[in-house]
């Protein structure tokens, strides 16, 4: 079991804002195609501010803590402010996430952004699509071995310098992927 920070444990044990909103102003869903993790965010908007946020999450302890933290960070914020929440800022607020879980569990910000997009589309007639989780992952610089969690200094290397596990690369996003993965855990592309 990965070692979680106290903050992650607190949000996992006592998640804030779990649930659904009836007739929400916006709904956003984000999932990880590899493990099946799923997050759904519901928002109520008043005067351009997030008056209420609720979520449901199917996933590990980190995924639940991420959802809870995102809901807390965004509550009462303007839509513009909420759109500035990133996976990195969520991880920072949680005092860190295990390296190998940074990508797969950290889908909360995207799910919230999608809920805001949904609201903009429905109420304001503004069609806008936030970059999906996969797109944002590409911008992350740090890459870690899926086996030993060591940071990969040379991510194009065919094997991990720390544990010597073979590292096949995703043809789509060129990130290292587990040996017999059918789907890239970073961008969801078929391998």
């Amino acid at each position: 079991m990965p070692i979680y920070s106290d903050k992650v444990m607190d949000h996992f044990m006592n998640p804030r804002n779990v649930g659904e909103i009836e007739n929400p102003d916006g709904v956003g869903e984000e999932g990880n195609p590899v493990c099946g993790d799923m997050m759904t965010f519901y928002i109520r908007v008043k005067d351009n501010r997030l008056e209420d946020i609720k979520f449901k999450t199917f996933g590990c302890g980190a995924a639940i803590a991420v959802s809870s933290m995102v809901s807390e960070m965004a509550m009462g914020k303007t839509l513009e402010e909420a759109m500035k929440i990133t996976p990195q800022s969520v991880a920072d607020e949680l005092e860190g996430l295990p390296k190998n879980k940074f990508h797969c569990s950290n889908l909360g910000a995207q799910a919230l952004h999608k809920a805001i997009d949904d609201y903009m589309g429905k109420k304001m007639g503004v069609k806008k699509e936030s970059p999906s989780a996969a797109k944002q992952f590409e911008e992350l610089i740090h890459v870690h071995c899926p086996y030993c969690e060591s940071e990969l200094e040379d991510k194009d290397s065919p094997f991990c310098q720390a544990c010597h596990a073979e590292l096949p690369h995703c043809p789509g996003c060129h990130e290292p992927v587990p040996k017999d993965a059918n789907v890239c855990p970073h961008c969801g592309a078929n391998i």
């Binding site: 079991m1 996992f12 044990m13 998640p15 779990v18 659904e20 869903e29 590899v34 493990c35 099946g36 993790d37 799923m38 997050m39 759904t40 449901k56 999450t57 199917f58 996933g59 590990c60 302890g61 980190a62 995924a63 639940i64 190998n100 879980k101 797969c104 569990s105 899926p146 086996y147 030993c148 969690e149 587990p178 993965a181 855990p185």
Partner: protein
């Protein structure tokens, strides 16, 4: 709060008698068994006594026991060592799809060295069909390796029948009996195998010690060269305290086998029956009856294993999961996938394995604590919400 350790499939506590037996060899009896002076004598005798104790547990001869560093080493040694020693006869190996990684990854290494590997499938209970093993055989097959019991789902494999197939075709047959040895009667003559792996920490012995039983006359290529220890088959100064502990644990397992099996089977059968009765959409994984005593495993639908594991831990209950999120490589258990489970269902994997210190009250406690945890996570799960909505409409 109660503390209930239910992860004996991961490792078992050390029996006080075993620890006592080990202590002299962490003290005055520190000598190297290979030394001819007085200091070598007591450790040397202790190692040979342990060899006899382990041989007796599996029904083999003392000289057929090779001590190793752990179960994984035993499996690596058996698979690579036997395959390499026989490569003049062929370079094909047959294993099951649900072997431990210490077997599967050993065969991957052999593939890099020019071997070919056939993986035999399993049914929905994780059982290997001996006929499938027969069909997978080729003229150049030099090793069959199928586990005696699977540590993740508890299923016992038809080793005797597979051994018959191996014998008919004159092919060496190794079984990984790490999860079963010391927990169910294991007899190499009765099973009809040629090599068998076991590990001390699976039956109340120390960690860092395993053994390979290798039938006399079987050829094996050592993985560790450089010494005369273990008949020249495994070099390196012996881990004397651990070997002594393994021997003592083997002796006690043999003595208490019947009582242990009886206790563990009763705890297991209660949980296997009563947990699914308390919760909807919980499936037992592995064979419902033909499984390790003390071993229970489930898939709880609509939620993920790590969350269950952490919430149970917060209530003083220690368990394991085969979900993708709990594995370091973030991949679903290859065992559950081979049994035909979907990735989504496999995410809800949970494994509770009893040991001889557990009681009926521990089962009561789990049956009280577990259902609210499942309900709590389901209330949080969008997958469950979707399922309920679909059911209503």
């Amino acid at each position: 709060m109660r503390n209930v350790y239910l992860d004996h499939a991961a490792t078992t506590p050390l029996l006080p008698e075993v620890r006592e037996a080990m202590l002299p060899y962490l003290g005055d009896a520190f000598g190297n068994p290979s030394c001819l002076h007085e200091w070598g004598e007591a450790p040397r005798n202790a190692v040979e006594t342990a060899r006899e104790q382990v041989a007796r547990l599996v029904g083999g001869k003392p000289e057929e026991i090779i001590f190793t560093g752990n179960g994984s080493e035993s499996n690596n040694f058996a698979v690579k060592g036997v395959a390499l020693a026989n490569q003049s006869k062929g370079k094909h190996i047959v294993v099951s799809a649900i072997e431990h990684f210490s077997v599967l990854h050993s065969t991957q290494t052999l593939e890099k060295w020019g071997f070919e590997v056939s993986q035999v499938p399993v049914d929905k209970y994780g059982v290997v069909d001996p006929d499938d093993v027969r069909k997978a055989l080729r003229k150049d097959t030099v090793l069959i390796s199928v586990m005696h019991a699977n540590g993740e789902v508890g299923t016992l494999e038809p080793i005797k029948d597979i051994a018959r197939v191996a014998k008919e075709n004159n092919i060496p047959f190794h079984t990984d009996a790490i999860a079963s040895t010391g927990n169910v009667p294991v007899n190499v003559q009765d099973l009809g195998v040629d090599a068998l792996s076991l590990a001390g920490n699976q039956f109340y012995g120390p960690k860092g010690i395993g053994a390979l039983w290798l039938r006399k006359g079987m050829r094996i290529l050592p993985l560790l060269d450089g010494g005369i220890q273990e008949g020249g088959r495994r070099a390196g100064t012996e881990n004397v305290p651990a070997i002594v502990g393994l021997g003592k644990a083997a002796e006690m397992a043999l003595k208490e086998m019947e009582a242990r099996v009886k206790l563990l089977t009763s705890l297991r059968d209660r949980l296997l029956k009563e947990l699914p009765a308390k919760l909807d959409h919980v499936v037992v994984t592995g064979h419902p009856a033909n499984r390790l005593p003390g071993h229970t495993s489930f898939c709880v639908e609509f939620i993920e294993g790590e969350g269950m594991l952490m919430l149970l831990n917060a209530r003083g209950i220690g368990v394991s999961s085969g979900s993708a999120c709990t594995s370091r490589a973030l991949k679903a258990s290859h065992v559950l996938i081979a049994m035909g489970m979907s990735h989504e269902i496999a995410q809800g994997s949970i494994l509770l394995s009893f040991g001889i210190e557990n009681t009926g009250e521990d089962v009561d406690y789990v049956l009280t604590e577990f259902p609210p945890i499942v309900n709590r996570l389901r209330q949080m799960s969008p997958v469950y919400a979707k399922f309920i909505k679909e059911q209503r409409s």
